[in-house]
């Protein structure tokens, strides 16, 4: 075909131009998303980095806000980065890249308790203090651990759910298959088994962390257990998903829901009572605290002054562990939990 022949000859330069345009667009889009991971300037000046994984989910919004605020407050640069998947190897590689940039301090949400041990030790040995967030890597040289781990968060959720349904009845636990969330699910089940023999966990539902799929997963569980008393969620999408399913099954009020995290779409359901409460971690405070602790270490102020030279003394001036507990979102305080949406 005439035009097709012409196009074949022109194809390579057109493709190259299109490729460049796409790269430029990607670059700009990356720069526009806040706080952009890969778009920082050369590694000079004071920088504090928060390394996580599955970084695109709304769970990290509070951490990012706290990083920004702490950075402004202290006059330093902060950055939030990490792979968009739960890939431990990718996170380890990202950690190495961060170390190479010689930041003033690193906060890291570990994918598990082992993989990052070498990386963290390398950072600390090269003079970069490391704080583990939410999850811990106890066998490493990290300076402190801030937050409650996922297992404890699961236990807390179970506690609230048990109270909500009056200590007895059948419940379903919703989750999805990522290491941290499964830890929460285990905490949930173990707590109920230990403290509430009158409560029976009749099913565990995998909602794929997909708001489009979650409702039908919970709906199927509701169908299978007509006398269900409660649903406990362990991931951010379980609240809205369970709420939707309960409403469509016309069992609002009959099935109590205790959710986890503070996704925007579930707050309305807390407002109208479909969800009784949601358990959230004090992520903002955790991050704020971490940045400041690292700042104190870097500038040798505050606790760092407990000894003339804590480094030479090989003493860790920071607490061993900071248990930040949880906060319970209910109808009474839900208004304060709404983030500004565009």
């Amino acid at each position: 075909m005439h035009s097709r022949l012409v196009r074949d000859r022109a194809r390579t330069p057109v493709l190259a131009a299109a490729g460049l345009a796409l790269l430029a667009a990607g670059y700009l889009l990356g720069a526009a998303s806040a706080p952009g991971p890969a778009v920082q300037a050369a590694p000079s000046g004071e920088l504090y980095v928060y390394l996580a994984n599955v970084t695109q989910v709304p769970f990290w919004i509070d951490q990012k806000r706290a990083l920004e605020a702490a950075g402004k407050y202290l006059g330093v640069r902060t950055e939030f980065t990490g792979p968009t998947t739960a890939d431990a190897q990718a996170e380890a590689a990202a950690l190495d890249q961060i170390i190479a940039r010689r930041p003033a301090g690193i906060m890291v949400f570990p994918p598990d308790s082992k993989t990052l041990i070498p990386g963290i030790n390398r950072a600390v040995d090269s003079g970069i203090p490391v704080i583990t967030m939410i999850g811990d890597v106890p066998d490493s040289k990290r300076f402190t651990h801030i937050g409650i781990d996922n297992y404890k968060a699961g236990e807390e959720g179970a506690r609230v759910l048990a109270a909500t349904i009056g200590g007895r009845g059948k419940v379903v636990v919703g989750t999805f298959q990522a290491a941290g969330v499964l830890d929460r699910m285990r905490g949930y089940k173990d707590y109920l088994a230990k403290h509430y023999p009158g409560i029976q966990v009749v099913g565990v539902v995998d909602d794929h962390a997909d708001p489009a799929y979650a409702p039908q997963a919970y709906a199927a569980a509701i169908s299978a257990h007509p006398d269900l008393a409660g649903i406990g969620g362990t991931d951010g999408d379980s609240g809205a998903g369970a709420a939707r399913a309960v409403i469509e099954a016309k069992k609002k009020g009959a099935i109590k829901i205790v959710a986890m995290d503070r996704n925007e779409d579930m707050l309305n359901y807390i407002q109208d009572g479909t969800i009784t409460a949601a358990i959230a971690q004090k992520s903002y405070m955790e991050t704020w605290l971490a940045v400041n602790l690292l700042y104190w270490l870097h500038h040798n102020i505050g606790p760092a002054q407990m000894l003339p030279d804590w480094k030479a003394a090989k003493i860790d001036p920071l607490p061993l562990d900071v248990d930040t507990g949880i906060m319970v979102i209910t109808r009474d305080n839900v208004r304060q939990f709404r983030h500004a949406t565009k």
């Binding site: 075909m1 005439h2 035009s3 022949l5 012409v6």
Partner: protein, 510 residues
């Protein structure tokens, strides 16, 4: 060649071989043998069972009855690999080469020689490949990628590949269908060399000329049965046709020629990829034959006129209106139809029905208010099945199941259904049995008689002489000669096509 061979001489044979498929008996108690040091031609109309027999001999099909003997011992061939191990090699029509790999890698595909540490031994590969290539007469660097080779040379690579397994018998399925005459002669030279080495060669062909050129013995199949096996010297072309078809065929009605009408298509200095500037005209009701050697522009002309290639220059007019199609859709809109030379790749929808293959060019006409009228579609298709004697179980039959000749008739029906002003038929009877050939030629004539014009582009000189009214000979992208078909011969056409360029004597017309 002795009439009765000793048991030692018979490399491969089958007796009482039967093979059935749902609905048909493809082979019916066939006996066949291949002797050492012979070239054995296998002939028959489409659907006679030649390819099926070859598939059984290659080990690809399992027979439903009868025995297969290799070297006198009865065996059950469990697949092509097993057959190869027993010394039966096959060179298929649909080539099995990987274009991106080199010749050597293709010849030893899957069996690359390795050195210590299981690494490929490239030196050994080159050496072994070069030896095989010289045996088939291919003087090309074994490292050349196959995609750089012409179909003829690729065929030689296929043979080298088959030879690399050291077969005693080599089977060829229509080896010359993609080759020019010169390339076919070269292939036959290679086959003769292999015969001298003691191999037994079997080849399926449609071309009478080849049978008498190179075969020692000829086996003819008809409707799944063996009609007979004869030494080539005892046969004549006419007798072969009679044996193949079972009846005498009327000679091609040359008397059908009538006076053509006024000019329908005029082309001036058409330049396109492969064409340096051709000028000619086609009149209503006439069949204009176009022939030439590969690369003469013969293959390029159809593409250029049907909107498949951009023109570099020149003008054309069809029925008084300017013609410069930029796509097949435009060409069709102006009343041009095209029978492509490779009907399976470019013409047929093999997984769709006869009905769907026929009505594809008239979707708009076979619908009302945007919805298809299936009753009318079935009627149209059914009418063509009847009048063209298309051998199918129904218009719903999947075209892939039909024989080559029947498939071609379906393609012709597709264009007859929209009655084009000009039908470009390129190599319309390649790989088709004699009976269907005659039918297709008759269809082209009928189309011309109804006032359309036919551009018959073909490498088959016999076909061109028999069917066309006038013949153009192309060479180097130009028209070098024009003759009335009645006043020329295959030899003259071949000479004109092969004449070295710039012999001014070529431009005479009658």
């Amino acid at each position: 060649m002795p009439e009765r061979a000793t048991a030692d001489d018979i490399l491969l044979s089958v007796s009482g071989l039967t093979k059935t498929f749902p609905g048909t008996v493809a082979l019916d108690r066939v006996d066949f043998e291949v002797r050492r040091g012979e070239i054995h031609a296998l002939l028959g109309a489409n659907g006679a069972g030649k390819t099926t027999l070859m598939m059984v001999l290659s080990g690809i099909y399992q027979p439903d009855g009868g025995r297969v003997l290799v070297g006198g011992r009865e065996v059950r061939l469990q697949g092509a690999h097993h057959a190869q191990q027993l010394g039966i090699g096959t060179v298929f029509q649909e080539l099995s080469l990987v274009p991106g790999l080199s010749i050597a890698e293709n010849v030893f595909l899957g069996r690359l020689p390795t050195s210590a540490l299981d690494l490929v031994d490239w030196h050994a590969l080159r050496r072994l490949a070069a030896a095989l290539l010289s045996r088939v007469g291919l003087a090309v660097d074994p490292a050349t990628p196959v995609r750089a080779l012409s179909p003829a040379l690729r065929q030689l690579v296929e043979i080298a590949k088959a030879l690399s397994l050291r077969p005693a018998v080599l089977l060829f399925d229509e080896p010359t269908s993609a080759l020019s005459r010169r390339e076919a002669d070269r292939l036959f030279g290679t086959m003769r060399d292999l015969r001298a080495d003691g191999l037994g060669l079997v080849f399926i062909t449609h071309r009478m000329r080849e049978v008498f050129q190179v075969a020692d013995r000829v086996t003819i199949l008809r409707d799944g049965r063996r009609v007979g096996t004869f030494p080539a010297g005892e046969l004549t072309p006419d007798r072969v046709v009679v044996l193949m078809v079972g009846r005498e065929l009327p000679p091609e009605a040359a008397a059908d020629r009538h006076e053509p009408g006024g000019p329908l298509l005029t082309v001036s200095d058409l330049a396109a990829p492969g064409l340096a500037g051709v000028t000619f005209e086609v009149r209503r009701g006439e069949i204009l034959g176009v022939t030439g050697l590969p690369g003469s522009g013969r293959e390029a002309l159809g593409r250029a006129l049907f909107g498949l290639a951009a023109w570099d220059g020149g003008r054309a007019e069809l029925a008084g209106r300017p013609l410069r199609p930029r796509s097949p859709a435009e060409a069709i809109a102006q009343g041009i139809g095209y029978l492509p030379p490779d009907r399976k790749d470019a013409g047929l929808f093999l997984r769709m029905s006869v009905r769907d293959n026929i009505i594809v060019t008239r979707l708009a006409q076979t619908s009302r208010l945007g919805m298809m009228r299936w009753g009318e579609a079935a009627a149209v298709a059914g009418e063509f099945v009847d009048t063209l004697r298309i051998r199918a179980t129904s218009t719903s039959q999947i075209v892939g199941e039909l024989s080559g000749g029947t498939q071609q008739k379906v393609l012709v029906a597709r264009w007859l259904a929209v009655r084009p002003q000009l039908l470009i038929a390129e190599d319309p009877t390649v790989g088709i049995d004699v009976g269907t050939r005659v039918e297709v030629h008759g269809l082209l004539r009928r189309l011309a008689a109804q006032g359309s014009a036919v551009l018959l582009i073909s490498a088959d000189l016999a076909e061109v002489v028999a069917v066309a009214d006038r013949v153009l000979v192309l060479a180097d992208g130009r028209v070098v000669a024009e003759r009335a078909a009645a006043g020329t011969s295959e030899e003259e056409l071949l000479a004109l096509a092969s004449a070295p360029p710039a012999t001014g004597a070529a431009r005479a017309s009658t």
